[in-house]
């Protein structure tokens, strides 16, 4: 079975608008994976621009919905050229600024220039970093699911993701314990092959700004 052509291949597929049905399904999958970090990003950026005001939940959800649509519509993100988390932070920052301009924010006077605001993107909060990393690992699991046989993924999911013991998994699936161990070994190798692409590791690391 060939390895994916690109890393973060799931995200490349998400934005394939040629297949409209696939696109409909995939934006929801993107949202499932990334709404947590996007909400954390939006909350942190809102606090940064408003002198630590509590972010309104409904407005943040609206920002996240807009960022998702922006991400899917635009053709600017290329995993080979930049980091996903930086791209999403810039999009989120722009939308938060748009929202604050409409709402007359607490520090309205300081919001005078969009470029200045993009430059003043706040540091990533620990919550945002943790949430993004978990979303990235969930993306890796999705990539893995697409590149191994269903039966192998089922065994991997039982043992490695749901914490079912190999013996219990063997009994439930009606196979020998050796089949479970052998499958887990092969799947973990495949997972590490997919994870070894530079983009995954770079996205995982803390951004430099």
């Amino acid at each position: 079975m060939p390895l994916p052509d690109t890393s973060l291949s799931l995200l490349s597929q998400l934005r394939d608008e040629g297949d409209h049905t696939g696109w409909q399904v995939s934006w929801k999958r993107f949202l499932e994976l990334y709404h947590g970090p996007l909400m954390a990003m939006a909350a942190g950026i809102y606090r940064h621009h408003t002198g630590n005001a509590a972010p309104p939940q409904e407005a943040l959800e609206d920002v996240v919905a807009t960022v998702v649509l922006d991400f899917l519509k635009r053709d600017h993100f290329d995993p080979k050229r930049g980091r996903l988390r930086t791209y999403l932070r810039v999009l989120t920052n722009a939308r938060i600024v748009d929202m604050l301009r409409k709402e007359k924010p607490l520090k309205h006077d300081s919001i005078s220039d969009r470029e200045e605001l993009v430059e003043s993107l706040p540091s990533e909060s620990p919550e945002e970093a943790r949430s993004f990393r978990q979303a990235l690992i969930a993306t890796l699991i999705e990539d893995l699911r697409e590149h191994i046989p269903l039966r192998q993924f089922e065994i991997f999911e039982m043992v490695k993701l749901k914490g079912i013991s190999p013996d219990a998994a063997a009994a439930e699936l009606g196979v020998n314990r050796g089949v479970i161990d052998n499958t887990i070994y092969k799947v973990m190798i495949r997972l590490r092959e997919i994870a070894s692409s530079p983009e995954y590791e770079e996205e995982y690391e803390k951004p430099s700004f």
Partner: protein, 58 residues
């Protein structure tokens, strides 16, 4: 220290590193499952769906 998940596949992992990877995978999987059930997630999906429909009807 390098996350063991990103070590080259041919590098052998220690039992501790394997356990670390398993924990990270399981945590991410569980958080993703929990996240999909959050009301905020459903509200954002509805928000996006409305905008897509609005765009199509224009």
């Amino acid at each position: 220290m390098k996350n063991p998940l990103f070590k080259r596949p041919e590098e052998k992992l220690s039992p501790r590193e394997e356990a670390e990877i398993t924990k990270e995978l399981a945590d991410a999987y569980r958080q993703n499952e929990i996240g999909e059930k959050r009301p905020e997630f459903r509200r954002i999906v509805e928000n996006v769906e409305k905008r897509i429909l609005k765009g199509k009807n224009k």
